[in-house]
């Protein structure tokens, strides 16, 4: 299912009456690691990095999720990646950190529809309902590490490494059909 990896356009993968799964368009992705005083990095990024795991922040074209005590996932438009890298690189000496471009490492699945949260329960052991809207979590979907963004009560994004995406998408597709049949 390489098209998941190499396709550059959003595409629906599974459509049910109550839940949909589709592939999001490509996005720039940066993994930021840093400790201590984040002021300089905040300034460079033009936002305040959230320091509570699961919290998100956003600024012009830039969206960030705190994944760990010293780890953030940045989503931004692909053409911004260079600029952000340059801005941070300038700080390397004074404020040591790690910024790695992983735009090509993973894809994002969009999951929405009235029973989207329930669809996720076929693979996620943690309580989906307990994730506040506007936050995100790194978790496991059928033992695959994923990053789950909750954009609305029934709207999610799921970041999955390329080679795991077909498995995750395949399960979600099965789940969609199941839910559709249940509701029919």
């Amino acid at each position: 299912m390489n098209k998941l990896v190499s396709s550059f356009t959003a595409a629906p993968l599974a459509r049910g009456a109550v839940a949909r799964v589709s592939l999001a368009p490509p996005v720039g992705r940066l993994v930021l690691r840093a400790r201590g005083d984040l002021a300089a990095l905040n300034a460079a990024l033009g936002l305040t990095l959230p320091t509570t795991i699961g919290q998100r922040a956003a600024a012009a074209g830039l969206e960030v999720l705190c994944l760990g005590p010293d780890e953030w996932m940045l989503h931004l438009s692909p053409d911004q990646v260079g600029a952000v890298q340059a801005a941070c690189a300038a700080l390397m000496a004074s404020h040591p950190h790690s910024l790695v471009d992983v735009s090509g490492r993973e894809v994002t699945l969009v999951i929405d529809g009235p029973r989207a949260a329930e669809l996720l329960t076929i693979g996620c052991a943690r309580d989906i309902e307990a994730i506040p809207v506007g936050q995100g979590r790194r978790t496991a979907f059928d033992n695959v590490t994923v990053i789950l963004w909750r954009d609305g009560s029934a709207a999610f994004r799921l970041d999955v490494w390329n080679s795991f995406a077909p498995h995750v998408a395949g399960l979600l597709e099965t789940g969609c059909r199941e839910l559709a049949a249940e509701t029919a």
């Binding site: 990896v5 190499s6 550059f8 690691r33 040591p96 992983v102 090509g104 080679s163 099965t174």
Partner: protein, 998 residues
């Protein structure tokens, strides 16, 4: 065919007849029937044969505790399952039911001769015999025993159904939707609490379904039930029927199995047969009720002998009269009501036989009013009837003396030995049980889990008590969850509470030693067997269970455990609590493998990781091999080529011109930070401080035990940035190991690790023409020997794509590894493939890669090493930074056995007869020695080498590095092969081929 259906009784819909077959014969039941109720409605009691003696059996219960009425059920091809409980399986138009464990027929079964050998086949008899003559066990006895084994037959076709699973989080999970569960749900269903109510039956209501005479809040039970269920749904309670709580796991995780289609005539599309639920509840209420105990007496297993409560259920829930002339045999009040109900339904109850000398006056009064003969202070000593009970032999008992018998003709015996709480799930929590002497039963005491028990499950009898306790427990958990609940239980009229006494075997005037008084029906365990086990020294209840198999049948001891305990305790002369119950094991009822595997079958079984190039390789007809989670192109056969031919061609192409290889699955880790060098110095054996930016080096990773764990080429992209590569299978392990040391041992280091395995796809070009192909495509680096020598790396663009270019060789030829972002990998590959045509570019797979690297003596971790090999064993002492103060594995390497002489060293082997050795073949110095031989090593890699023109091999040989030129021997089944120990490099030892000619 006569009908035993009672008009106007039961909840089945007589207006909707349902046809099904039993052993090929067609029967008609009504919508809502189970197989058992439908057959009973047709006057059929005989439904199965027992395990050991093949005795004819009918249903003894009306629920999931059924040990006797087990049948095979089929729905067309692929959809057959054995050992289905007839008392649970709902009928649907066209259902095929077959009886089991009989030949040639259910009515006549030749194996019933076992029954004649009854006295011989006592508990544990097989431990005492079948030992002589010695040889007979394998040939005669065991085959005989095995043939006799089993109940139904296994399915033999693939299962066309699908199965599913979900995780569910709730505040309160209530198991059992009887009065207690319903009341608990109502009380817990307060604002903000997620409440789930599950029941294994087709409809909620539990005992209310069998007791229509009860009035609740002044209304008939069934009306109240319907309204209450609607009300609960209105309050947001999730009610799941046909859903069994199979197991209670750590910290309030309860597994549920929901049956979705087994009751349907038509299978809906996209609907799984069953769904496994992993429920995590903050509080659990167990309201599973109680199970009626059979009475243990001679002949208590004939078809037509069943529990009184079951007879009541068949009458009141299914509208079936299980007998026209039943006898009631009991030691508990509850069975009297069965007699009254059946009498009221047109049966002529022959007698109520109660073991107690006196009973409640109102019961006697009603019996008299109904004209039913009552025999108090009586025991039952025998029954007659082969395929259906014909009579019951009863005797008066006075002062322990059994008087003379009278025989009562009958067509059913409805027995009750009282009730015992359903303790299974509670026991799964490893909760403690408390013995209740008054009720001679175990009751749930404490558990570590956040769990409460309601109703009959803790020894409270009657609908009123169940409703009140349920409400109280519901309020209790609501309060524990910080909510106030004011819910009160409704008032009940027409409740039927009662008491009774507990019996061991009923007293008899016949030879007790010959009595067929069954305790575990399915496994044919009798009271006599239990007493024999105790007599033989089986003094633990677990020994008794295992020696007799009591409680090990498919009903999980639901009917037999407590009777077994009482008899064993009596035989031991110890009180029950000192003997103790055997542990109840999950699942509560047998659960299909399908449900447990749920999604993980076929395509979803286990994921297969594929690189961006995988589809191209597949289109080229590549053969693949699994490596860890990945599948990798193994070789690219052309039409008519086998593996060997393809690999020869691929090898030749690389050595003579140009090969292209997908190395994308190699692990990659970005190591960044001011302390990156320090980290690398500590992690890998090699020195890194002096490695210049833009250069790379082969790195060796050990465990702290000193043995090789992983390896890979590592490039320095900047003073504070390394691009680390690992083996394909080792990627995750290595990153975890690095994080472990970094976070736990060296938290002070300012360095971070990021996996870039899938950020970069890696295309390897190898061969004399590699540079020629690549040079024109590269911007930012000049691919000359001076500008970009072997073991260089750079960030540049290749074919216009952002790339990390490594000049490395795992083949001994000029080699490059081009890393580009995964989404662009196919673009790069296509371009190289097109431009490479002029060099006859050839795609090669892992097998060719293995051959080429072996020709150069490069190791494959996991093939040439096995977790017991040190760098020195592998001839890679050069990779160990001896002057470094420390690195992972340094101290381990200094342990006595790792520095000992004569360790096994990696060497080359050339066979003297030019034959190719088998990988894994063992090596000896002295081929003449007798077995067991002293082995001194084994062949780790062996290939036909196109370049050398003969087979080559790598091997681990004791002291090998000091035995160059010596001959060793490889004894094979047919012959012994002699081979000469050589160095590990077979091709171009001077590495001249690595040079790019100007």
């Amino acid at each position: 065919m006569r009908s035993c259906r009672v008009p106007g009784r039961g909840r089945v819909d007589a207006s909707r007849p349902v046809g099904f077959t039993f052993d090929g014969r067609r029967y008609q039941g009504a919508a809502g029937d189970t197989v058992a109720s439908a057959l009973l409605a047709n006057g059929v009691h005989l439904m199965g044969r027992s395990f050991k003696y093949h005795r004819p059996r009918g249903p003894v219960s009306a629920g999931s505790e059924e040990p006797n009425a087990l049948v095979g059920t089929r729905r067309g091809p692929g959809r057959f399952e054995p050992n289905t409980r007839a008392t649970v399986q709902e009928i649907w138009e066209g259902l095929e039911v077959t009886s089991q464990n009989r030949f040639p027929s259910l009515r006549f079964d030749v194996s019933a001769v076992n029954d004649a050998g009854y006295m011989l086949f006592s508990a544990g008899f097989y431990y005492k015999t079948f030992m002589w003559p010695r040889g007979f066990w394998d040939k005669v006895y065991e085959p005989f025993i095995r043939r006799a084994a089993g109940l139904g037959v296994s399915p033999t076709e693939e299962d066309p159904d699908t199965y599913a699973s979900r995780n569910l989080h709730c505040d309160v999970l209530i198991v059992g939707a009887g009065p207690a569960g319903l009341a608990a749900a109502r009380a817990a269903a307060v604002e903000g609490l997620r409440v789930v109510l599950v029941d294994e039956n087709a409809e909620a209501g539990g005992t209310l379904l069998s007791e229509p005479q009860v009035r609740i809040d002044g209304r008939p039970a069934w009306d109240w039930l319907a309204d209450e269920l609607a009300a609960l749904k209105g309050l947001g309670v999730r009610i799941m029927t046909r859903t069994t709580a199979i197991g209670y796991y750590h910290q309030n995780m309860v597994g549920l199995c929901e049956k979705l289609t087994d009751h349907l005539a038509q299978l809906p599309a996209d609907t799984p047969r069953e769904r496994l639920w992993r429920v995590r509840a903050r509080w659990v209420v167990l309201a599973q009720g109680a199970i009626e105990k059979p009475l243990v007496f001679n002949g208590n297993d004939r078809p037509g002998v069943m529990l009184a409560g079951a007879a009541q259920t068949y009458l009141n829930r299914y509208g079936v009269r299980v007998g026209d002339r039943p006898v009631v045999l009991t030691s508990h009040d509850s069975a009297w009501y069965a007699a009254f109900d059946l009498q009221g339904a047109g049966a002529r109850v022959q007698a109520i036989v109660d073991t107690r000398p006196s009973v409640r006056e109102d019961l006697l009064h009603e019996a008299r009013a109904l004209g039913i003969l009552v025999k108090l202070g009586h025991t039952a000593t025998a029954t007659s009837g082969r395929l259906r009970v014909k009579s019951l032999r009863v005797n008066p008992v006075q002062g322990g003396q059994v008087g003379s018998p009278v025989t009562i003709a009958c067509d059913a015996v409805l027995m009750s030995g009282g009730w015992t709480p359903s303790l299974h799930l509670f026991s799964h929590t490893q909760g403690k049980l408390a013995w209740d002497e008054a009720q001679t039963t175990f009751l749930p005491a404490e558990t570590r889990e956040d769990c409460v028990i309601a109703g009959a499950g803790r020894g409270l009898w009657g609908v009123q008590a169940a409703l009140e306790d349920g409400a109280a427990r519901g309020r209790e958990v609501a309060a524990a969850l910080g909510k106030d609940s004011a819910a009160q239980a409704p008032r009940v009229q027409g409740d039927r509470t009662g008491t009774g006494v507990t019996q061991i075997e009923l007293p008899t005037d016949l030879n007790a030693g010959r009595a067929k008084a069954f305790v575990d029906y399915q496994n044919d365990v009798t009271a006599k067997d239990l007493r024999l086990a105790v007599r033989e020294g089986m003094h633990s209840i677990e020994h008794v269970k295992r020696y007799t198999t009591n409680g090990m049948a498919t009903d999980q001891g639901k009917l037999s455990n407590i009777n077994g305990l009482n008899i064993a305790a009596d035989a031991l002369g110890r009180p029950q609590p000192q003997v103790g119950l055997t542990t109840f094991r999950p699942p509560y009822t047998p659960t299909t493998f399908g449900a447990l595997a749920n999604y993980h079958r076929g395509d979803h079984f286990e994921l297969t990781r594929k690189t961006p190039i995988d589809a191209w390789a597949e289109a080229q007809g590549a053969a693949f091999e699994p490596v860890g989670q990945w599948r990798r192109a193994w070789y690219f056969p052309r039409p008519g080529e086998d593996m060997e031919a393809a690999v020869r061609r691929e090898c030749a192409a690389v050595r003579s011109s140009l090969g292209i290889f997908d190395a994308s699955s190699l692990g990659k880790i970005e190591v960044i930070g001011p302390d990156a060098v320090t980290f690398m110095e500590r992690m890998y054996t090699n020195p890194w401080a002096k490695l210049g930016v833009g250069r790379c080096r082969y790195g060796l990773l050990l465990g702290d035990d000193g043995f090789i764990r992983d390896d890979g080429v590592i490039g320095r992209l900047a003073a504070d940035r390394f691009h680390v590569t690992t083996t394909t299978g080792g990627a995750a392990r290595v990153l975890n190991m690095m994080e472990d040391y970094l976070q736990t041992e060296w938290p002070e280091l300012n360095v971070w690790l990021t996996s870039t395995t899938e950020q970069w796809s890696t295309v390897a070009l190898n061969g004399p023409n590699a540079a020629k192909l690549l040079a024109p495509l590269v911007e930012g680096v000049e691919l000359t020997e001076d500008a970009f020598p072997h073991m260089s790396c750079a960030e540049c663009t290749v074919a216009g794509l952002p790339a990390r270019l490594f000049r490395v060789s795992f083949t001994g030829e000029i080699g490059f590894e081009v890393n580009v972002p995964s989404p662009m990998a196919m673009q790069l590959w296509d371009r190289l493939w097109q431009d490479g045509q002029r060099y006859g570019i050839t795609a090669y797979g892992t097998e060719t890669m293995h051959v080429l690297r072996a020709e150069k003596g490069y190791i494959i971790v996991g093939q040439d090493t096995d977790g017991t090999v040190t760098p020195y064993d592998a001839g890679m002492g050069w990779a160990v930074g001896k002057s470094k103060p420390d690195f992972v594995g340094k101290r381990g390497l200094a342990r006595p056995d790792l520095v000992a002489k004569n360790r096994r060293h990696l060497v080359g082997l050339l066979t003297e007869d030019g034959s190719r050795l088998e990988e894994g073949a063992q090596i000896v110095f002295d081929p003449k020695q007798p077995v067991p031989m002293t082995m001194v090593g084994h062949v780790t890699s062996s290939y036909h080498s196109q370049a050398v023109g003969r087979p080559i091999a790598l091997a681990l040989v004791e002291g090998g590095q000091d035995r160059m030129g010596q001959t060793v021997h490889i004894p094979m089944p047919d012959r012994t092969i002699a081979a000469t120990i050589t160095g590990t490099v077979f091709v171009d030892p001077e590495n001249t081929r690595l040079k790019i000619e100007a």
